[in-house]
Symmetry: D2
Subunit: 242 residues, 4 copies
């Protein structure tokens, strides 16, 4: 079983009736349901307003892949928790960052850039094209799929060039966006996935759910022991040593 | 002076009146004029119907960067010339491949893939977005520029993931395309640039011309001697040797 | 079950007694035994001197990942079979290329470069370092492992910069080599792995065998249908279409 | 003229007689002399103990490429200055990070990883191999060059996979290291170069100096205006607009 923790800021859903209408039990509940369709996944959730944002050392140690959704309260995430998640990713925990999570503290810390972009809320059509059909995250997807109404995210997206670029989005209004980005960092793997929103019902979309399931599998940690660094003694190699 | 050779198939222009109307002296003539605006470039041209397609050993030895446009007669390019160009690229000569040159023998040989794509001739608007603003080929360009009427090229574009992705195109009709692709191969550098057509007047476009000038500079060869390969003798390192 | 075909030139073993001493049933037999330790793999073999080199359409259609070892008879591999394998890789079949397979026709065709390198047979110590510990091919390996006596392969190795670089080798005699290289090409994945030789007993090495098992899993194809290319009709997007 | 600022911590040289013996006027003085051999470079220096570490807004605005050497006092660099440099790099200023600068605050902030590694001070031989001979930073270098006595840096080096890997080091004691790493971040370019030390006279080495000159040219900023992000209005494309 791959152990997934879905982290949701979970504020919009409590405050805004129009968000509540789409996600009455929170965005995390819908994502959890999507992941649970895959029986090899064990899913739990955590939210901002829990103690330590629900991301204690214990929870993180029992998490293989963390999924992150945040939007209006990035600044309220405590630096201690951000640092803990950052360390765990470098130590091997997978991280799937969703939509407005591009501006989360932990994603910016891992990327080292501003992670800024262009945006517009105009209910535009998005077409998501696969540009790396050999990649496991593209498994089971058509050449492109559509989401009828979305918030647009446009380039330039200020992130490092990814290790693999899997998806590019086309938007009705004239923009493009690198929408599926794979990174290796330390022992960990990171996938950024653009689709998502608090009022458009993006996470009910069958292909979006499919990508989320593929993504957590790609992000699965290796079982290697922790890396060591620092001073190493003189090595004297002699035939027969090895 | 950087020595550029512009290679043009130069067939459409002789046969089709509508192409002749746009490029009366051939596509190469317009590109040559564009490059000559940069006084650090020395420009010559070569075409398919010349002996050895104008790409003799002597010409290639005097070429720092070769620019390639072909479309209707890829198969008529002799394999001996293809191999000669291929060798020269691995030996350091830069190569800029334009538009329908994606299906040229030499580009396919260098990429190792089918180089296939989707296309449609419908006079659509194209917006070309810079996604690597630190790259020298993006120098002097706005965040995006438009070409009002183009032939569409759409993903999936079957080429290796580039070493740097500089441009992504958006098309009115719903497609995206990785339009500016950088590759290192052996001692040589290759840039694929999508815009171009035989009847749309793409190579008169100021920003397109600007990219072509940037591209040949990026593709400029290093002046290193030829690489050697094969057997190497036993090395005995001793303090004081180096 | 992931279906693996191990292709071996199988000539050295028949001709040279010193090779026979190490690999009495052929290199493929030892590799097959190594892969069969993983019960999720179904393994068959094919060799040069079989009709169509054992790589008929039928065999390739039933192969998820092809492993390739060749050395002294690269030129005897028929171009028709090379093209067939090339097409299958672009269509999704994984390919693991071993050691002297760097000079096989199919690897050169896929890479587009000379695939040349430096070499020396002097029974040197090799240390293989993991430089991408998040990569699944590094799963279960220590920070480095050693092979006590090897043929050296040294840089510059004339291949495209890989999509992921997993291993770098250190050699006693002063050279380094990029030893574990991942490529995506079309729908297929390719892994080049340096270790191997016909008289040094490399494929009996526990860590080498471990890498081979990891590699075929990483190369596993997606189950997507074949890609289509070419002309696409005008798309008219309308709200409510998707 | 490309405007270079060499930043040196400049502490070892004031405190340790053995460092003073090698670099009586500071490491920066020797690097400055090396860069000044290239008449297209305009060079200034800045050090930790100056006000604002010599890196005021004014200095940075007049700097095209910043070179960074630090070792024993990384923590004394004020966060305000780190943030200022970080912003300038994303805004286009080139950054060349040298040797122990891998642990500088600004490099760690840009990489997003621990930037940790293995090390040993044993006066070992280092051989630096070019693995991307097409890259401008490899211009004018032999296939490898040697430094007779160095501090070893060994893998795993915890940094993101580079956009281009130019050099790999071999060390007498059995380690390898990715020694020349290129990154694009925002509008800026970063080059990490391993060689260097406070008591071994690395920066007097002709090939090392040659790399430093190549590196600042590769890091030269584009002259594009600052990037803008955020909300963009609805775009209505019409034929004839562009």
């Amino acid at each position: 079983m791959l152990r997934i923790t879905i982290w949701n800021e979970y504020r919009h859903e409590k405050i805004h009736p129009d968000v509540q209408a789409v996600y009455p039990d929170g965005i995390h509940a819908v994502i959890a349901e999507a992941l649970c369709k895959d029986e090899s996944l064990s899913v739990r959730v955590a939210t901002l307003d829990e103690p330590e944002h629900g991301l204690t050392d214990e929870v993180l140690e029992q998490t293989d892949v963390l999924m992150w959704w945040g939007h209006m309260a990035h600044d309220e995430v405590q630096d201690a928790v951000v640092n803990r998640v950052h360390q765990r990713v470098l130590g091997g925990m997978g991280l799937v960052v969703l939509h407005s999570g591009h501006f989360s503290k932990v994603f910016k810390k891992l990327m080292g850039t501003s992670c800024d972009l262009h945006w517009r809320e105009a209910g535009e059509l998005e077409r998501i094209w696969t540009v790396n059909p050999a990649h496991p995250i593209a498994q089971g997807l058509p050449p492109f799929f559509e989401i009828p109404e979305v918030e647009m995210y446009g380039e330039y997206f200020d992130v490092p060039e990814p290790d693999s670029l899997v998806f590019i989005s086309w938007f009705e209004g004239g923009e493009v966006f690198r929408s599926g980005l794979c990174y290796h960092r330390g022992q960990g793997k990171i996938f950024y996935f653009r689709p998502g929103h608090e009022t458009y019902p993006i996470y009910y979309h069958a292909h979006v759910q499919h990508v989320l399931r593929n993504a957590v599998h790609w992000c699965a940690p290796t079982s290697n022991p922790a890396l060591h660094f620092g001073h190493v003694p003189q090595f004297t190699h002699q035939k027969g040593d090895a």
